[in-house]
Amino acid sequence: MNNNIEILLIEDNPHEAELAIRSLMKNNIANNIVHIDDGADALDYIMGTGKYADVQKRNVNRLILLDLNLPKVDGLEILKQVKSNEKTCMTPVVVLTSSKEEKDMIESYRLGVNSYIVKPVNFESFSEAIAELKMYWLLLNQWPPLNNKY
């Protein structure tokens, strides 16, 4: 398993976040999991701006698990900025949301989302989904070399 991959969970609901982290942990993940509950903070963290000015220096691959309904800056806006910024456009973003709305899905794909997952209500199914997500992104997927971003 690629332990260099940092998982950034952007989720405003602490209980949802706890369930997600529990599901991730339950599947023996040793990767660094970062949880940010605010859209604006999340953008700062991803871009290495504001109070996270030093974060970008750490040379890691990152997988963003993004909720759409966020305070201040919503998920679609974060997705748009990540995918339109040269430094971050190669970062895979997985939308993890309760929304089954077609327009959210279409807009996400239009902005370049790598995966769109509707969270099942049933925790068991949710856990299974998280397990498969991890399996795919951390084991199967080949990541681009870190020093050759452009």
């Binding site: 209980h15 949802e16 529990r22 089954k100 077609e102 969270k119 209500v121 925790f123 949710f126």
Partner: protein, 539 residues
């Protein structure tokens, strides 16, 4: 010359010749025959001129009068020579005799010349039968002329009567016309107005004459009328339309509409003809209609806005349901699961049962929310109408349903009539109806689902029949309502949204859904799809 002179000097002398009795040997008889004959000729020749003169005087035939005189003179002269001839038996006046004969000769030749001259006209002079025929002809012609004159007079009389009638007719028509008709001369001075024309402004003839017509026209409309008159004058015989306001003595300004036509060149009319009528009522009605339309449009616009707002609200609502209601459910479910797995040992069996109930109900509510969202989404979806192979759709739906079943179900299907519809949505209909049929016949021994189609001129009707528990027809109105269920959850699991979704999809196609059934005798669900889906149906 001497002889001529001598002749006239000895005119009455008898000395140069013996009397005729003594010249030669005359017997008494010979002498007297001569004498008597001459005297008789003279007498007759003397009488004839008098008869002629008498005739001339009587007939007064001026044309031939000279000829008659000549004739009389000639006969008289002839008579005189005979008389002298007789006289010369006793008095030998040869000179007088020769003079008389000479005069007679002159008159005779004058008469000859006159007769030659007269001859052509004498030839032209008709005979009496000819004249009589001519007279008859003339009489006939005169009679014909007289008759013709009579007829002509009669015709003239009739025509005059007719003209009088026609004039009366047109006058009556104009005078009694509901339209105001006024005539003006080229100087725009009034010549004639009918009663309606005076009624139009509510003024009597005298009152109308006291004001100039142009002062009765609304100041803003006077140019409209003047323009119409100007155009009319330029284009004779072409009526020019004008709609203006006219001052009515009691009602104020009224709306009138009509034409002005230039018939100045028409010798019979020789006027500008104004033909107007009161359209105030029509105008008001028009205005009312316009106002109603405007109001209606305003209302429609308002309603559309409201509807759009309502739609947006609904969208926001379903978004909210989708996102905000599902999240807490998952959390409840998640934490119950966590409790279950983390504290299983510390919970009693009853505690675990209660936890299971919590989790079961959260899952169920999750299904309800999904079904509701599905229903809302179907409502918003636009129809994509294509030819749909119903048999294929039903067959694949049945296979799909069979794969979810543990019990065996007998399906009886015919070849189904194809129809134009949105195949994807209709598949939901079949899926719901077939799964219901299976579900509600799950408790009978040999579950059987029968699928049929029939058609009439306008629509195709499909049916799904089962031999399950059926339903009481008195609750049939509740079948298609959202969250309406006729059976308890413990017996038959379900969301109560399936048939509502069926109804929504079918209604969207312009069709109908209905059901027949009886308790414990199975149920048949029908839906119809119109053969021509014109537009998307609103509901």
């Amino acid at each position: 010359m001497n002889q001529v002179f001598e002749y006239f000097r000895k005119m009455f002398s008898t000395s140069d010749w013996p009397a005729r009795w003594h010249c030669g040997i005359w017997s008494e008889f010979e002498g007297w025959l001569y004498i008597v004959s001459d005297i008789m000729i003279w007498a007759a020749y003397f009488a004839i001129p008098f008869i002629i003169l008498r005739y001339v005087v009587r007939k007064n035939n001026a044309h031939y009068i000279k000829l008659y005189y000549l004739f009389a003179a000639f006969i008289l002269a002839c008579g005189i020579t005979h008389f002298i001839d007789a006289m010369m038996f006793w008095i030998p006046v040869y000179r007088i005799s020769s003079l008389a004969k000479f005069v007679t000769a002159i008159i005779s030749w004058v008469t000859v010349v006159a007769l030659v001259k007269f001859l052509p006209s004498a030839f032209a002079t008709r005979t009496i039968p000819e004249l009589e025929a001519e007279i008859q002809r003339r009489k006939n012609a005169e009679e014909a002329v007289r008759k013709m004159n009579e007829e002509l007079e009669q015709i003239i009389e009739e025509k005059t009567q007719e003209i009088r009638l026609t004039e009366f007719k047109f006058k009556s028509i104009i005078e009694n016309s509901a339209d105001a008709i006024s005539l003006m001369n080229g100087e725009l001075e009034g010549i004639y107005s009918n009663k309606s024309a005076y009624d139009l402004s509510g003024r009597t003839e005298e009152e109308s004459k006291a004001v100039h017509w142009s002062t009765l026209v609304h100041p803003e409309d006077i140019d409209i009328l003047k323009d119409a008159i100007a155009v009319a004058i330029k284009t004779p015989r072409k009526p020019q339309r004008a709609e203006i306001r006219l001052n009515h003595i009691h009602r104020g300004y009224i709306n009138i509409d009509g034409t002005v036509c230039n018939l100045l060149e028409n010798t019979a009319v020789h006027a500008l003809v104004f033909n107007f009528r009161d359209i105030t009522k029509i105008k008001h009605a028009e205005q009312e209609v316009r106002q109603l339309n405007e109001n209606l449009e305003k209302k429609i616009a308002e309603r559309t806005l409201q509807l759009e707002a309502a739609n947006k609200e609904l969208e926001a609502f379903s978004y909210s349901v989708s996102h905000d209601l599902r999240a807490p459910l998952r959390i409840i479910n998640g934490y119950a699961d966590m409790l279950h797995s983390d504290y299983k040992k510390e919970l009693s069996d009853e505690g675990i049962r209660q936890l299971d109930i919590i989790m079961y109900n959260t899952r169920h509510m999750g299904k309800l929310i999904d079904a509701l969202l599905n229903l809302a989404r179907m409502g918003r979806k636009e129809l994509t109408v294509q030819n749909a192979d119903m048999s294929a759709i039903v067959l694949s739906t049945i296979q799909e349903q069979i794969s979810l079943q543990t019990r065996s179900v007998t399906f009886d299907t015919d070849e189904l009539i194809a129809v134009k519809c949105d195949g994807v949505l209709i598949r939901h209909v079949w899926s719901n109806l077939i799964s219901n049929a299976i579900k509600y016949s799950s408790k009978v021994e040999n579950p059987r689902v029968t699928i049929r189609s029939t058609e009439n001129t306008d629509e195709v009707i499909y049916s799904v029949k089962d031999n399950g528990i059926g339903f009481d027809m008195k609750y049939s109105n509740k079948l298609f309502g959202v969250f309406q269920r006729l059976h308890n959850k413990a017996d038959f699991d379900g969301t109560g949204v399936g048939l509502a979704l069926v109804q929504r999809i079918v209604t969207k196609h312009g069709g109908k859904v209905w059901a027949e059934g009886a308790e414990n005798e199975g149920a048949t669900f029908y839906f119809s799809i119109p053969k021509s889906i014109q537009n998307e149906q609103q509901y």
